[in-house]
Amino acid sequence: MTLLSLSQVGKRFASTQKEGGTRALGSLSFQIAPGEFVSLLGPSGCGKSTALRLAAGLLEPDAGEIAYPGGKPEIGFVFQEPTLMPWADALTNARLPLDLKHVPRAEANDRAGQALARAGLDGFEHAYPRELSGGMKMRVSLARALVARPKLLLLDEPFAALDEITRHALGDDLLRLWREDGLTVLFVTHSAAESSYLSQRVLVMTPRPGRVAADIALATGRDTRLSPPTIQAQRAISEALSTAMAA
């Protein structure tokens, strides 16, 4: 069973410096099964964010194919920045996908409230983004991504700008939501430690133009960030990353 499949996907961006543009992705291929938690790990500029946008349909590939064999699922997207509407409170922000789909206001408020509560923001429905900390803003962003009940959650280095303690708390919450909802998660990160704890599988990418250098299935028993299997996985991922960088 495959939820998402990328085969030999290539993408160039127009550039003023380089003739023919910059090649962001070389020939990227990978598949994701329903219910998986997959990390896409690579150095900055390797095209992992581009891959995520391609998967979401926000960009069109120049080459190769992106397929959803079971039909394109409802997708939730979380950016590196919270990307909230500063003029709207947390509830209105979380409700945006439902508003865009013309869900009746009462039902939308209900569902947005529940999504905020599940993301750990009970009682902050009417707070404005500027009144929230970085971690709480990211929680609003997460609630917004979940409110339309997606099958596939795409996250683009969502915790990169947060401090370590907040990052850990949000990571644990993400794991809980993934388990509860039976989500499929594609998680872009440049942290081997983060991917070793959160994901079941790690796709290590090469520098630009990015392609998958290693596909690492992680062992079970990674119950905490310091469990020996987690540490072991982290080492394997780091080594694969070094190899990919040198290649």
Partner: protein
Amino acid sequence: MNRLANIALPLAVAVLLLGTWETAVAHWQVPRYVLPAPSAIARAFLDNFVSLMAALAATLMVSLEAFLAATVLGVATAIGFSQSKLLERTLYPYAVILQVTPVVAIAPLILIWVGFEHINLALVIISTIVAFFPILAGATLGLKSADFNLIDLTRLYGASRAQVLWRIRLPTALPYLLSGMKTAGGLALIGAVVAEFVAGSGTATGLAWRIVESGNRLEIATMFAALGLLAATGVAIFAALSLLEWALLRRWHESAISSQS
């Protein structure tokens, strides 16, 4: 303490200035038709209160109509620009030409075209031309400033252009638009006054005409009173728009939030 100083300091300067003025005029016995004392100006203001207020109402009406027209036209044009790059590239130069051509130079033409029998309409059009550009510039910049990621997100949920405009672009543009409106409010008043000056005697009934008329009659005190009224009106317009800005932005925009909070 700080807020008190904000009021007390300018007030102290005013008292000092007016006191010096009054004393100097009395001491050197400056003729009334050169420089009237503040007390004489106040008396002229009270003596001509009714007619000055009627003149103010006329000028204010023209300014407000022009301001509203400029806001509606400016926002509508900016929305058009935001929806079509081609439209923007085609028309923006003309908006700039309209802006850089001195309005006193265009005013006679407009008065002739519209006709002196529709003098009020002509005044409103001239004033609208003056107030239009800051609204257009502010709204255009604001509509373009929307967060690209936020717009991408709406695309993910199949949002229409109208939804993106209404839910993302327009709210983003609001602070820029309000800033343009603050400039445009003062300009609408200036435009109305300039238009009245150009329209000249017998037709206009506003404050500018009172200034011209008082000058012709060497009633310098009345002239000062009209001038003071004009300045006060400009300040009131600015204050009203600042209040509107504060009311609309205080919950979320950095500009409306004091650094202490």
